[in-house]
Structures are given as structure tokens and as C-alpha cells.
């Protein structure tokens, strides 16, 4: 298929593009950016006048719920929701059921995505078998099967020696270790930030130290092992400071934040709103300000969705008994665009945090619009206003704290591998 995207404002931080250009796609590749090639006859011409054309977003963490929890979502429903959010590559953490700790599970996910999916799906492998924190996984085999990193997700590696060896081994097979900094002991089955709100509501608190102590431990091990580490879902000002200092000292680390952390705080829990039950918990205004600032100055390099779709019942219980997480794929763009509208970052910086840099963190060839690059493109209307009605989300999960929020920024079309996988009007 040949697609021409004309009159659009093209933003591509990698190639330093930020102006009006046309893009021509043939089959799965971008063939020119600028003038049409001689004799190019488009099958589809997209007039992107007043729209932004940028590399499709790369999401560092989204649960698709398949395999294992198909009543919450499937590769089919969730990759379509991702496409509706302008996302063309997604990274799945290994806490599926079965856990991604053998090449067979990786192959299963890729096969399902080939059959039913809409976008590229990448996987992280478990750092330890069954995420149990005891035995290393076959990282080289998992890498060969397609895994782009290793992670124990939110599961504890109780023995520091196992963690050290796992990080060293990951370094020897050249895989990035994705770490979720939360000390299980200090988090102590909490369900909200330990602060004014948990004090008022009598909810078990997760102290700031649950994150900072884990970050401190991990940083020492990074120094010791020379592993390449990515810190997932930071939530505290103090952790950002610690990571900033380690970077200044030359450590090879990166970090991300979930988009909702940039817009909500513990106060949004109000009187036990289970839609605001997330992990790590929503923290204070001060933490939120620091997270936003860190996105602006690139101490935090990437914004991700941390998508966790749920069935209705998962959120229908007293707060602590509900399952944490937000169905977030379709709100990442408008929430990130808010940072632009708030004057915190520029549009190219937003595209960088959503696409260019996360692709680099995963080590995948995506997140740019170079000639001959795979044609993964998001076309969005930066001025498109909409009000979020959870029932209109394409994700199987309608769990979102952003109900009735007036959002700005609407995905018009998403192209993945040279195919139009999402069009606003078709799916509206």
C-alpha cells in the first residue's frame, strides 16, 4: 500500500524535524520525507492540515492481560486501544500467567499478536524464574526469542545476592534490567501514599522510603555490577533526586513515569475513590511537581501508560480490596499534551518522551521518521477537545480516574508497519 500524508506538521526529534512536510509510505516503509518520489501514486492520501505527524508512540509498560487474565483484556482489544492512543509499539512486562520466563511464552504472545494484534508488541523477560526471586531465567534464550529486557516487575528478589547475580548475568547478555523500586517490607501491604490522606482515611500507607530505599539499594548494585538499568514508574521527588545524582556520577541509568502521576495526587482519592488506587501510589503535590519538572529537564526520559485494564468487579470493593491500576492507553497523549499546554515542555520534547527515547531504552528501531524506517506514525489533532467517557474507551478496561475530564489532543490516525490501524471516524 502507498500512503501519502500531506500538509501535516511533522515532528521527529531524532531527525530534528519540526515543520510542514509530506511523508510518503510504500509497503511498510517511509520512502521519502519531503517531496513525492517520481511517479508515486498514493492509494490513500491523508490530508494532515493542522495536524501533527510524528513517530508512533512507544509505550514502556502496558498489561495486555493475555495470556492469563483474558476477562480483563486481550491482545486484540488492548492493541487496538493502544492504536487509538497513537501507540505503535508496546512493551509487555513478564507478569503474565504463565510468566514470560521461557521462549515458548514469548512465542505465544508474538503469535497471538500476529493473528489478532494491531501494533508491535515487545516483551520483557522475567529476571528470575516464575518471578520467584530464586533462579535466573535463560536470558540469552529469551533474548533470542525476542525479549528486549529483563524485569522482576513488582515481585521481590528477597536475596540481594540473587539480585546481584541476575543483574550481572543480564549485563553479560547485554540486556537492560527494568527495576520497579518498591521495598516490599516497607510498603507493608499499604494501598495509598503514607501521608495526610492515608492518615485521614485510615488506609495503610506506603511510605516514601519504600521507593527511596529500593532506589538506593539498586543504585549501589548498578555501581557494583555495571548493569544497564531502567527505573520504572518513579513516584517520589526524593527518588528523582537520587537518580539525578547517580546520573551525574556517570551511571548508565534511565527512568520513566506513568502519565497519571503527572496529573493526580493523593488528594484525588477523596473519599476512597478506587479508580485512584494505583501502584506506586499517588503521592503529594510536591512529588507531583518534582515529577513534572523531571520530565521537563529529562531527568525522567520517558512517559509511559502503565496500562492496567480491569473488569468492573476489580474496582468494586472497599479501597484496599480493589485491584490497583488504570486503563491508560487512550489517555497518554492528552495527558502528555497537558504538559505542553502548561508550558512545561515543547511538542518535540513531548514526542521525545513518548516515542524517541522509549524506543532507545528498549533498543528497538522505532520512534523516528527516517527514510527507510518502518512506517509507524501517529497523526493527531493537538487542538481536538473531547470529554472522557469511560464507556467509550476501546480498551476492555473502563477503569479510569479521568472520567468527565476535558481532554485536549485527539489521535486522528495511527499507522503501523505502513497500515492504517486506527482512524478516529471509523472507531468513534
Amino acid at each position: 500500500m502507498r500512503i501519502a500524508i500531506i500538509n501535516g506538521h511533522v515532528i521527529d526529534p531524532r531527525n530534528d524535524l519540526n515543520d510542514k512536510r509530506d511523508i510518503y509510505i510504500q509497503d511498510d516503509k517511509i520512502i521519502t520525507v519531503g517531496k513525492a518520489p517520481d511517479g508515486f501514486e498514493a492509494d490513500v492520501t491523508i490530508d494532515a492540515n493542522k495536524l501533527i505527524v510524528c513517530p508512533g508512540f512507544v509505550d514502556l509498560c502496558a498489561r495486555l492481560r493475555e495470556p492469563g487474565l483474558e476477562h480483563k483484556g486481550t491482545i486484540e482489544t488492548e492493541t487496538l486501544a493502544a492504536a487509538a492512543g497513537g501507540i505503535t509499539s508496546i512493551c509487555v512486562p513478564p507478569d503474565t500467567n504463565p510468566v514470560i520466563d521461557t521462549p515458548a511464552v514469548v512465542e505465544l504472545i508474538h503469535k497471538r499478536n500476529q493473528d489478532a494484534g494491531f501494533i508491535h508488541v515487545y516483551t520483557l523477560a522475567a529476571l528470575t524464574r516464575g518471578l520467584a526471586g530464586e533462579h535466573l531465567t535463560e536470558m540469552a534464550h529469551l533474548k533470542a526469542a525476542g525479549c528486549v529486557g529483563v524485569s522482576n516487575v513488582t515481585h521481590d528478589v528477597a536475596n540481594p545476592q540473587v539480585l546481584r547475580r541476575a543483574m550481572e548475568y543480564a549485563a553479560s547478555v547485554d540486556m537492560t534490567v527494568f527495576l520497579h523500586p518498591e521495598d516490599t517490607g516497607l510498603a507493608n501491604n499499604g494501598c495509598a501514599h503514607e501521608g495526610a490522606v492515608s492518615t485521614r482515611l485510615g488506609l495503610a500507607g506506603i511510605p516514601e522510603a519504600a521507593e527511596t530505599q529500593a532506589v538506593a539499594n539498586y543504585l549501589m548494585l548498578v555501581e557494583q555490577t555495571g548493569s544497564r538499568v531502567h527505573f520504572c514508574r518513579l513516584s517520589t521527588a526524593r527518588a528523582i533526586q537520587m537518580i539525578g545524582r547517580a546520573k551525574y556520577d556517570g551511571q548508565d541509568i534511565t527512568a520513566d513515569v506513568a502519565a497519571h502521576q503527572l496529573h493526580l495526587t493523593e488528594m484525588d482519592i477523596g473519599y476512597f475513590d478506587s479508580q485512584c488506587h494505583v501502584r506506586p501510589p499517588l503521592r503529594t503535590q510536591r512529588d507531583q511537581a518534582a515529577l513534572r519538572q523531571a520530565v521537563a529537564n529529562a531527568q525522567i526520559e520517558a512517559i509511559c501508560s502503565d496500562h492496567q485494564p480491569h473488569d468492573v468487579d476489580a474496582k468494586l470493593a472497599p479501597f484496599a480490596e480493589t485491584e490497583p491500576g488504570i486503563s491508560a492507553l487512550e489517555t497518554v497523549l492528552p495527558l502528555s499534551l497537558r504538559l505542553v499546554n502548561d508550558g512545561l515542555i515543547s511538542l518535540p520534547e513531548m514526542v521525545d518522551r513518548l516515542s524517541t527515547t522509549p524506543a532507545e531504552i528498549l533498543g528497538i528501531n522505532a520512534g523516528h521518521l527516517s527514510v527507510n524506517a518502518q512506517a509507524d506514525i501517529c497523526i493527531f489533532d493537538p487542538n481536538g477537545h473531547w470529554v472522557l467517557d469511560p464507556d467509550n474507551l476501546l480498551s476492555h478496561g473502563h477503569n479510569t480516574p479521568f472520567r468527565n475530564w476535558e481532554l485536549q489532543g485527539r489521535v486522528i490516525k495511527t499507522i503501523c508497519n505502513g497500515e492504517i490501524v486506527y482512524s478516529l471516524n471509523r472507531h468513534e
Binding site: E194, G195, A196, S198, T199, R200, L201, G202, L203, A204, G205, P207, M267, G270, Y271, F272, D273, D313, L316, A317, P318, F319, A320, E321, T322
Partner: protein
């Protein structure tokens, strides 16, 4: 914050009683005044008034309780309501779905009020959020969040002895962290205008952000209890008596238990409250519990009148609006 008005119906009358936080001062005064009127009912030979005749009240207890359930039951019966007691083992309702299913079933039996006790903070709000419009919910204790009827009966007891809240210095002592009673007491004291509310306990039992509740924090009991008018002791749950929270019962008693010696540091006419059941020799010395300054048994008696006041206010609201 947007949902604090869930406790009121559209006409501005109290529909649910879930927490004292954010209630207007006048509502608290109204409850105390109404309780004053009901307090004589128990001393009459015919201990009943027909205010809630024909109403059905369900005591829905997801957590074991004898005293609270009994006083709610007595309060409802003295108001001539029909009472149904349901005790649900916690294991059978670990999923919200079955909790909601159970509510639907009870609603289908045309009940008018649920009195709910649950081990999870926010359970009463959750149930109030999901019940049919004709049903009222009274929180009889949810996790560590709130126990508003206990808070009100404590205020009632204090007012009987110290009528002017604006002249009081009050200390709440013990496990503030896990205490729903403490939270409800603190909100009530602040709303009623008590100028100085103190909380006293070790760091491990006081939330780091306790100050945001509107209290002064003391970790030394002898300093904290000095010159107070009212001492509100909290029950120490057995599972917290030894381990990471506290080293031992004995050490807790020596540091934070109320003894005659420590009581002598408070105002000479200070009163001692405790929500019960008391742990003698853990948080309170027997001679104080049974002594002249103790009002612990009065609290139990007052609990019935205060719960009658709240139940009749909530269930009687429709008559008031017409």
C-alpha cells in the same frame, strides 16, 4: 473531596452517617441535644418510643463485636424498629462482588437502614455509594477510618461533665495509627471547637502526618497529659502488643498506660474515657478504670441514647422534609 456530601440528601438532611469529618457543627450539636432527650427513655419502665415503628434495621457486621452491636440493637428496639442481626465471616466476603450481591439481597427484603461494621477502611462509604436510594447507612466502624457513633457518644459524655468545649484541653492516648475511634474523636473535638487536642503515643503508633488532623503530637505521656481536662484512652489491639510496633505490654504500660500517678499530672477534675473493652494493666490501671474520674461505664449507657438520636435523625428525615 467532591463527595463529602454523600452523607446528605438533596434537601440537606442527614441521610447516611459515615464519618464526622466535614459535618457542620450544628449537626453535631443537634445529635447531642437529641441524645439528651433520649437518655431518659432507658430509665422509664416502658423503655420504648414509637418513632421508628415499622422500620427495619439490619446490623451488618463483617467483624465481630458484642458491645457496639448490642447497643445498636437496643437503640433500634427502643425506637420500636425491627432489627435483624447478620454476622458475616470475613472470609466469605473478600470479593466486592459478593458484598454487593449481599446488599442487593437485603435490599430486596425492603430494609430501611444498614448499620455496618467492616474491617476495611472505606467500607461504609462503599456500601453507601451502592445502596438503593431509600436505604440509609450508619457506619459502626470501618477499618482504621471512622467510628462516628463512638465519637459522638464520647462527645456526649464529655459535654455532660464539661459543658463548654471551647475551654477544654483534650488528650487522645495510644494507638492513633490504627484507631478509627481516635479519628472520629479528633474530628468531633475540632468541629466542636476544642482549642487544644493532643495525641500521645510512641512514633510507631502515631502517623507521621498526624498533625494534619489538627492535633498536637506528644511522644512523652507525662508531658502530654499535663493540665488536660479530658483523657481519652484507646484500646491497644492484642496483635500490636509485641513485635515491630511495640516491644512488650509491660513497657507500653509503663510509658503510655494511664496510672493514678500519671493522672495526677492532669487537671484535678479531669475525666478518663475509654471506648472499651479495656485491657487492665496494658493501657489502663484498674484503680483508674474503677476510680472516681473514670466515666467509662457512662459511655456505654450514653451509647444507646446517642445511637437512638442518630438513627432517628437519619430515618426520620423524610417526615422533616414534608
Amino acid at each position: 473531596m467532591k463527595r463529602h456530601d454523600i452523607q446528605f440528601d438533596q434537601a440537606g438532611n442527614l441521610r447516611h452517617f459515615l464519618t464526622i469529618e466535614n459535618l457542620p457543627r450544628q449537626t453535631l450539636i443537634d445529635i447531642l441535644d437529641a441524645a439528651e432527650n433520649f437518655s431518659t427513655v432507658g430509665t422509664q419502665t416502658a423503655k420504648k418510643v414509637p418513632l421508628l415503628r415499622g422500620k427495619t434495621i439490619v446490623n451488618l457486621f463483617f467483624e465481630p463485636s458484642t458491645r457496639t452491636r448490642t447497643t445498636f440493637e437496643l437503640a433500634a428496639k427502643r425506637l420500636s424498629a425491627d432489627v435483624l442481626n447478620i454476622n458475616i465471616s470475613t472470609s466469605s466476603t473478600s470479593k466486592g462482588e459478593s458484598l454487593l450481591d449481599m446488599l442487593r439481597n437485603l435490599e430486596a427484603m425492603h430494609c430501611d437502614m444498614f448499620v455496618v461494621r467492616h474491617h476495611q477502611s472505606g467500607a461504609a462509604h462503599f456500601i453507601a455509594d451502592h445502596v438503593a436510594p431509600h436505604i440509609s447507612v450508619i457506619n459502626a466502624g470501618d477499618g482504621s477510618h471512622a467510628h462516628p457513633t463512638q465519637g459522638m457518644l464520647d462527645m456526649f459524655t464529655i459535654r455532660r461533665h464539661k459543658p463548654d468545649f471551647t475551654k477544654l484541653r483534650v488528650a487522645v492516648i495510644g494507638d492513633i495509627m490504627h484507631s478509627r475511634v481516635a479519628r472520629s474523636e479528633i474530628h468531633a473535638l475540632n468541629i466542636l471547637g476544642v482549642p487544644e487536642v493532643r495525641v500521645i503515643g510512641p512514633h510507631t503508633l502515631i502517623p507521621r502526618d498526624a498533625g494534619t488532623l489538627g492535633v498536637h503530637v506528644y511522644h512523652n505521656m507525662r508531658e502530654g497529659i499535663k493540665d488536660v481536662d479530658v483523657i481519652m484512652m484507646l484500646r491497644l489491639q492484642r496483635e500490636r502488643m509485641s513485635g515491630a510496633m511495640l516491644p512488650s505490654e509491660a513497657e507500653y504500660f509503663s510509658e503510655y498506660g494511664i496510672t493514678e500517678e500519671k493522672l495526677s499530672l492532669a487537671k484535678p477534675d479531669a475525666i478518663v474515657l475509654h471506648p472499651g473493652p479495656i485491657n487492665r494493666g496494658v493501657e489502663i490501671e484498674s484503680s483508674v478504670a474503677d476510680g472516681p474520674q473514670s466515666v467509662i461505664l457512662e459511655q456505654v449507657t450514653n451509647g444507646i441514647a446517642v445511637r437512638m438520636a442518630i438513627m432517628s435523625m437519619v430515618l426520620g428525615r423524610k417526615q422533616e422534609t414534608t
